[in-house]
């Protein structure tokens, strides 16, 4: 926090306005993605873009990075008009970007991915592998991924690691503007910290950083100024030092947000054990003890841990996606042998995956079709689709989750990142599962919608559904969970009850310590 105020204080006094955007408009058919965006960047600042899901942040970023052109308005960079026709041109002008959705080459090595923009050549003009690998090594070390083999293909990485590889890649080339679109959405505290250190360092070198996040505390920690988006327009740009998180939220949503949710401390009565996991080991788990825990009806159990601690693999194992090496899963006290997701779903389980692009959504298909995918039988009769029912279901889910979309018939790819995440959630909510597994359920979701989602999840629990939530956001787990399992190295390091919830305790366990500040690990 101290550091944050300092950076804010150092906000550039002499305004060197080197990128300015004026009344920018971008339409997708009838959808006004950007409807008058104006702001400017000063050299060497860290500039935050905030706004609700679908407000237009990523669209602006894609325009700045040459992914697609704009319809109206003007951009100037270094005093010249800026209208990049391709990502290549944007990069030539010194604009570097980490997009919200990943753009990695799964079958290529991490090292190759990191240097893909400019693969090193040796003096014969050939690919310089030693240089390639050592560059990657350095880049990964810089962001703290010291234990990852740079020669491994990206497909072996979990989602947070992929995000870090993306960041490492963007940091490779010299740039004058570095744009980070929600880089922290899947990161845990540790990685986020390290990222911020890096940002501070490149800022010191005079690089301007544009930072998008739904975590206002992060914005306040590293940014100098903040521009607020609402419905495709910029509402205001403020000096961080002169504003407060509440003020920003108010601008974002255009109204006062209903007070923070009361984190219900009421004593709850849980039902019987819905899901019992015993010494579960999947193919990816190298330990020989595995993981054991119980989940009761009406209970929300959180799973915390650092990136790569093995959280996702537990959910995948339970849901029958990855083969189980040993141990077992019991559903309502009976041993369940799921040979695939179909079996798990038949047993009343749902699974919100962390990777919406590859596993969660059918991007080219309509929103309504995505929402009905897991419960297609309820919107069909005798194998025939009931389109009206399907549309109704989508509309209802959209209202409930505050989805921002054009029509339910639009493809899911037309949604903003946060809204896509809501569609993944809606898909499983529509299914009325008895047990719901959620992996990073609010990844990329804005502050307001997050609160809604928490309320919905709590309601579900109250109505007797058992929830297992994996999240990299400790506040999220502490708001939602009745109990938090902390994972380290594929094993449960400890379990925290509500009374012991604190970021410090979670972190300690996550780092492998067992001594806690308050209570004790069981």
């Amino acid at each position: 926090m101290v550091a944050a105020t300092q950076t804010a204080a150092q906000a550039p006094a002499h305004s060197t306005q080197f990128l300015s955007v004026e009344r920018l408009k971008k339409y997708f058919g009838g959808v006004k993605a950007l409807d008058g965006v104006s702001f400017f960047l000063e050299q060497g600042e860290v500039h935050a873009l905030v706004g609700e899901n679908g407000a237009g942040k990523s669209t602006l970023i894609k325009i700045l990075s040459g992914v697609f052109p704009y319809d109206h308005g003007a951009i100037s960079l270094d005093g010249q008009t800026y209208r990049p026709q391709s990502p290549h041109e944007a990069k030539e002008r010194g604009v570097q970007v980490v997009h919200q959705e990943f753009n990695l080459l799964d079958h290529l090595s991490i090292a190759e991915n990191i240097s893909i923009e400019k693969l090193p050549r040796n003096r014969f003009g050939l690919l310089d592998r030693p240089e390639l690998n050592s560059r990657a090594r350095k880049a990964l070390d810089a962001i703290g991924l010291t234990d990852i083999d740079v020669k491994a293909p990206v497909s072996t990485l979990g989602i947070a690691h992929r995000q870090l590889v993306e960041i490492a890649r963007a940091l490779q080339s010299e740039s004058q503007i570095l744009i980070l679109d929600e880089p922290t959405a899947t990161l845990t505290e540790r990685e986020t910290k390290r990222l911020f250190e890096l940002v501070a360092r490149i800022k010191a070198d005079g690089v301007t950083v544009v930072f998008v996040s739904h975590h206002l505390d992060e914005v306040f920690e590293i940014c100098d100024r903040v521009t607020v988006f609402r419905n495709g327009r910029t509402i205001a740009t403020d000096l961080i030092a002169e504003t407060t998180p509440d003020g920003i939220v108010q601008r974002m949503v255009g109204r006062q947000l209903a007070g923070e949710m009361v984190s219900g401390d009421e004593q709850k009565d849980f039902g019987g054990v819905a899901l019992s996991v015993q010494n579960l080991r999947t193919e990816a788990n190298p330990t020989d003890t595995g993981v054991s825990f119980d989940l009761r009806y009406g209970e929300i159990v959180g799973i915390a841990g650092l990136v790569g601690a093995g959280r996702t693999e537990i959910l995948r194992g339970i849901f029958g996606i990855d083969p189980v090496r040993s141990g077992e899963v019991q559903r309502d006290g009976e041993t369940a042998r799921f040979s695939g997701p179909g079996d798990a779903i038949a047993a009343g389980i749902g699974f919100v995956t962390e990777d919406r692009k590859d596993e969660g959504l059918i991007l080219d298909m309509p929103i309504s079709a995505n929402i009905s995918l897991a419960n297609i039988n309820s919107v069909s009769q005798a194998g025939l689709l009931k389109f009206a029912a399907e549309r109704r279901q989508a509309t209802e889910a959209g209202e409930k989750l505050k989805l921002k979309y054009g029509r339910t018939a639009d493809p899911a790819s037309s949604l903003s990142g946060g809204n896509q995440q809501k569609v993944v959630l809606a898909k499983w909510l529509a299914r009325d599962p008895k047990v719901l597994l959620l992996d990073e359920p609010t990844r990329g979701v804005d502050v307001g919608a997050k609160a809604e989602i928490y309320a919905i999840l709590k309601d579900l629990a109250r109505s007797g559904v058992a929830l297992l939530v994996v999240s990299s956001e400790m506040p999220e787990l502490m708001t939602l969970a009745d109990r938090i399992l902390v994972l380290a190295e594929h094993q449960i390091q400890g379990t925290l009850q509500r009374a012991d919830f604190s970021e410090e305790n979670i972190l300690k366990l996550a780092y492998g310590q067992t001594e806690l500040a308050g209570g004790n690990s069981q």
Binding site: G340, P341, I345, D358, F387
Partner: protein, 332 residues
């Protein structure tokens, strides 16, 4: 007209939105251009007789292409349809010429034999490629060889002939100048369109072509659907065999060589993506027409064989380029 209204209340978006209609219209425009061109340059083109001819000539390709659409939509490919058609025709030819059956029974037997053979080959294609998650290109290439070898073996490389008269009747029957076999193909197109747009099955096929993993994680048995798609493709190969037999009154073990490429071309010219997930059987219908009209028209204007082959290639390329521009303008 009725269809139009139904569509308004039951939109199956990515297939029947304004955009898709435009998309089809795009390739439809290429078709129109061809038709206008040929009408201007040869008086014979727009005659009732010639239209009947074109309809007859595209029937087999259209039937095969309908099944192929299912396979391509799930991101697969079926190279075996031409051979399977020949195999089915030979088996059916053996069946229909069995002694001791009346014409009606013999024909029924042949139809059953042809479709069963087709279905069986398709099932094998689908089962192997789905069960072991193998590239359907190679599996169906294997089947191409197997079915062709089998067709030759069963028939001993002889043309089978002398089918019941009623069968010929069916092959050359017309309703208002429209060949009955073409109507059969149209019915298949309609059924495919219906299945793809209005059933859970069709929806999931599109889903699998788009993102197989997402469909799997939603608890659906991807394998089963894949097998079904290949089986449908085998089925249409069987139907194509029946049409072939009825039209030509023979079963030839060397029929259908290269038909797979034509069928795939119809599907892709019709706008279906080879990587799966996008496309429509209406596009396939138009694609089959383009190929058929081109073949017919170029002969009518009297181009030599070699020039004709070259021009065919050029026009196919131009058609998709044209379609590209259409798609671009439709998108903005």
């Amino acid at each position: 007209m009725t269809l139009q209204t139904t569509t308004d209340t039951l939109p199956a978006p990515s297939r029947f939105s304004v955009r898709t209609v435009l998309q089809n219209a795009g390739i439809g425009r290429a078709l129109l251009a061809l038709i206008i061109f040929f009408s201007v340059f040869t008086e014979h083109f727009l005659t009732p007789n010639n239209i009947t001819n074109i309809l007859t000539q595209i029937t087999i390709n259209l039937v095969l292409a309908v099944g192929m659409t299912f396979v391509i939509l799930i991101g697969g490919i079926d190279l075996s349809v031409g051979s399977v058609m020949a195999f089915a025709a030979v088996v059916a030819g053996k069946a229909i010429t069995l002694p001791g059956f009346g014409p009606a029974e013999a024909i029924a037997l042949a139809v059953i034999a042809a479709t069963l053979t087709g279905v069986l080959c398709g099932l094998i294609n689908g089962a192997i490629s789905a069960y072991w998650a193998l590239p359907s290109f190679i599996i169906t290439l294997g089947m191409l060889n197997i079915a062709r070898g089998a067709a030759l073996q069963v028939s001993d490389a002889q043309t089978i002939y002398s089918f019941p008269y009623a069968f010929e009747e069916f092959g050359s029957a017309m309703i208002y100048g429209v060949p009955v076999v073409f109507l059969v193909a149209l019915v298949l197109v309609f059924m495919a369109w219906f299945v793809l747009n209005f059933t859970v099955f069709g929806r999931l096929l599109y889903g699998i072509g788009n993102n197989e993993e997402a469909v799997r994680l939603a608890g659906q048995s991807v394998r089963r659907y894949k097998i079904a798609a290949f089986t449908i493709c085998g089925f249409t190969a069987g139907i194509a065999a029946v049409v072939y037999m009825a039209r030509l009154n023979i079963s030839s073990p060397i029929a259908g060589i290269g038909f797979e490429l034509n069928a795939i071309a119809a599907v892709i010219i019709g706008g279906t993506s080879l990587s799966g997930g996008r496309g429509s059987v209406i596009g396939t219908l138009l694609g089959a027409f383009i190929i058929g009209v081109l073949a017919n028209g170029l002969i009518l204007i009297g181009l030599s064989d070699f020039m004709r082959q070259m021009i065919t290639g050029v026009v196919i390329i131009f058609a998709v380029i044209l379609d590209h521009y259409r798609a671009k303008y439709a998108a903005t």
